[in-house]
């Protein structure tokens, strides 16, 4: 029996977290759920404690990278075979998790990304955001040598080798795209599967219009620095 850990990074997600946890309990009762409360100032921590799931409470806000790495380190310490990232804002759906886990169970891949863009779907985003996602996907596809359509997707599942890698090395902020480059350098396999995503049910995206320019520049720079980095 494979031990699966679902990591839910949460920073001030009191509105949407209860729904996400209900969804997970209903669709995957056998998996363990770990909320990583990234120094929230609202009742996120309390919700996590009272809902009976496992929870890591970071003493202050580390950002999504540090929070996810805390989750991967938990998975590493407690011998989980598979660790998922599952955002608690309602965009990720519990019923789609099986699709991500399957290629890992079959040994076909080390990291599986759930992509919004493989299905002719209804996903809409601002023009600027779409351009950004396209640019990243183009660069990442070139670097990896395989097409990646949704490199910024946070809906992903990792096997034991990736869990061990991430608990040693994980990018700090805006980690999704960078993590793929690092995994590729470590010769780990990355694949994508088509998933449906829901609408955000609460909170706001951490990427505001002003920040998105910084986001683009920072991630692009980081990708090229990562290519030069030594990877253990």
């Amino acid at each position: 029996m494979m031990k699966i850990l679902i990591i839910v990074p949460a920073y001030n997600e009191e509105e949407s977290l209860p729904g996400a946890l209900r969804d997970l309990r209903a669709s995957l009762p056998s998996a363990d759920v770990l909320v990583v409360n990234d120094g929230s100032t609202d009742s996120t921590g309390k919700i996590a404690c009272e809902s009976g799931v496992k929870a890591l409470h970071l003493p202050f806000n580390l950002g999504i990278g540090g929070a996810m790495q805390a989750g991967y380190r938990y998975a590493e310490q407690y011998g989980y075979d598979i660790a998922m990232q599952f955002d608690g804002d309602g965009q990720h759906l519990g019923k789609e998790i099986d699709k991500l886990v399957k290629p890992l169970l079959m040994g076909e891949s080390d990291l599986v990304i759930g992509s919004r863009f493989l299905l002719p779907g209804t996903y809409r985003a601002s023009l600027f955001r779409m351009i950004g996602i396209r640019i990243f996907s183009f660069i990442i596809s070139r670097i990896l040598g395989t097409p990646v359509t949704d490199s910024t997707s946070g809906f992903r599942a990792a096997n034991r080798r990736v869990i061990e890698f991430f608990s040693r090395t994980y990018p700090d902020d805006y980690p999704e795209v960078e993590a793929l480059v690092l995994l590729h350098k470590a010769r780990l396999r990355i694949t994508e599967v088509a998933v449906a995503m829901g609408e955000r049910t609460g909170g706001v995206s951490s990427i505001t219009p002003i920040r998105s320019v910084y986001y683009m520049v920072k991630v692009l720079l980081a990708i090229f620095i990562d290519l030069l980095k030594k990877v253990r």
Partner: protein, 124 residues
């Protein structure tokens, strides 16, 4: 003696005195003082000896010797700030690890505490 020389000697001597005093009082760790001490000493020697300064600046093709002094001071500051950036990066990585470790330990403690209460109440 020209004014620039007096100023340079006083300036670099002051740097040395302040750095040494900070180390003596334990406000500055030796590890982080090495670059400051090196900068202070070299600038002091070069300010005091016009001949050496002239010789070295001509060697690198600078014909107004005091500007060689400024160049050196500038390079030292650059080196020191770069050193700080490296140190800060190391510290922030350690800080992150520590925060993660703390959260992991807290969860472990909570799980252990739950197990202990379960046992006491004869539930497992």
């Amino acid at each position: 003696m020209d004014v620039i020389k007096i100023l340079a000697v006083i300036g670099s001597a002051a740097v040395l005195v302040v750095v040494i005093e900070l180390i003596r009082r334990g406000r500055l760790k030796e590890k982080y003082s090495l670059l400051w001490l090196a900068a202070g000493s070299i600038l002091l020697i070069l300010s005091a000896s016009r001949e050496l300064l002239e010789y070295l600046s001509h060697l690198v093709g600078i014909y107004y010797a005091p500007s060689f002094l400024f160049l050196l001071a500038f390079l030292f500051l650059l080196l020191i700030t770069l050193h700080f950036s490296v140190v800060i990066s190391g510290l922030s990585e350690k800080n992150k690890r520590m925060a993660q470790e703390l959260a992991l330990l807290r969860q472990e403690l909570r799980e252990l505490a739950a197990r202990v209460t379960d046992k006491r109440e004869g539930r497992s």
